[in-house]
Amino acid sequence: MRHRYIAVKVDIEQNVDRRDLISAVSASLLKLFGEYGSSLAELSLVDLDPEGKYAIFRCTHRTLEIVKASIVALGEINGKKAATQVINVSGTLKALRKRLLT
């Protein structure tokens, strides 16, 4: 199964932890595309920087578009207003990290 790695910038006033972020994105995915869509996505949070502002998600390559839409549709995390931006997408984690550094 091929995967896609998605780099995301989180704009929120306070720090966000891993559990809150993955719950918020999973809830958004579930709301928009239902249980079937969520099951196809195999969404996971690969990395989150210590300040909680940048994250890397992984999903199946077939569901990239629905996962991107779910990330963008996120309006709040743990009850706090938030805005998320998809910065970059790559097929491998190594390539994504390289792109983010340049």
Binding site: D11, K68, A69, A73, Q85
Partner: protein, 247 residues
């Protein structure tokens, strides 16, 4: 690529200057090069210049827009006559079938929008689309409700948008995507809006055009018309005065 947010609800007034600044700065950060700001009729020239100044400081091109939300056709005719020469974009919020049909038919209208999330309050059907395509009016889609609504309400809105986008594409009506918000947390990058447009079956390329080429073309066309030497499409005054006979 230049991206345009044709409907950024920037508050106008001295008391809300800070919010306006924040919102405009955020738009620039997200990668827009032009913003369309609704400027009500009663706005003073000083207030407009202030918003223009903030936009210029952030390297953003300000597009002055008029939002018409009217109940009667007579009122709409009157407002169109006054505003067409004063604003670069004229948008009509349609909350009845007759207003939608009139707005779609009138050449002075640039954008027709349907603010209601309820499918019964949206009137973009084949007949309206046909009129809009002849008059070169575009269908405006604001993305903020997609982020604020949830559950069945959002499902209904997405379903309506999917139908409307399908009709617009069938009749060649241009689509314009904009934020339609005054909340910085509801603003997204143009590429993210294009991703969100996947919800209503708009492909990435068309969605990108709806955020760049199409609004830019509309603004360019209108700015040309607003110049003092404009007479009709393709006809301009090149010289004024007595020596015109010798040209």
């Amino acid at each position: 690529m230049k991206f345009v947010d044709l409907n950024l609800q920037v508050p106008i007034g001295k008391q809300e200057r800070k919010e306006a600044e924040e919102l405009i700065e955020r738009s620039a950060e997200l990668g827009y090069s032009a913003i369309g700001v609704p400027v009500p009729m009663e706005t003073t020239e000083e207030q407009i210049q202030d918003i223009e100044k903030i936009s210029n400081e952030n390297n953003l091109n300000l597009i002055k827009r008029a939002d018409l939300k009217l109940r009667s056709l007579n009122e709409m005719r009157r407002s169109l006559r006054v505003l067409r020469r004063k604003r670069e974009i004229i948008a009509v919020q349609c909350d009845s079938k007759s207003i939608a049909r009139y707005a779609a038919r009138d050449h002075r209208v640039d954008l027709i929008s349907f603010p209601s999330a309820d499918p019964r309050g949206r009137f973009f059907d084949s007949a309206t689309a046909e009129l809009a395509s002849k008059a070169s009016a575009a269908l405006a889609v604001d993305m903020a409700p997609l982020l604020t609504l949830s559950g069945l309400q959002r499902a209904r809105l997405v379903s309506s948008l999917r139908k409307e986008v399908g009709i617009a594409e069938k009749f060649g009506v241009p689509i314009v995507i904009s934020s339609g918000t005054s909340d910085r947390y509801l603003l997204r990058r143009p590429q993210d809006y294009a991703s969100l447009a996947y919800l209503f079956d708009l492909d990435h390329e068309t969605a990108t055009k709806a955020l760049s080429d199409i609004p830019l073309k509309i603004v360019e066309r209108n700015r040309e018309k607003l110049r003092s030497n404009y007479v009709a499409p393709g006809v301009f005054i090149v010289r004024r005065g007595r020596d015109c006979q010798n040209v």
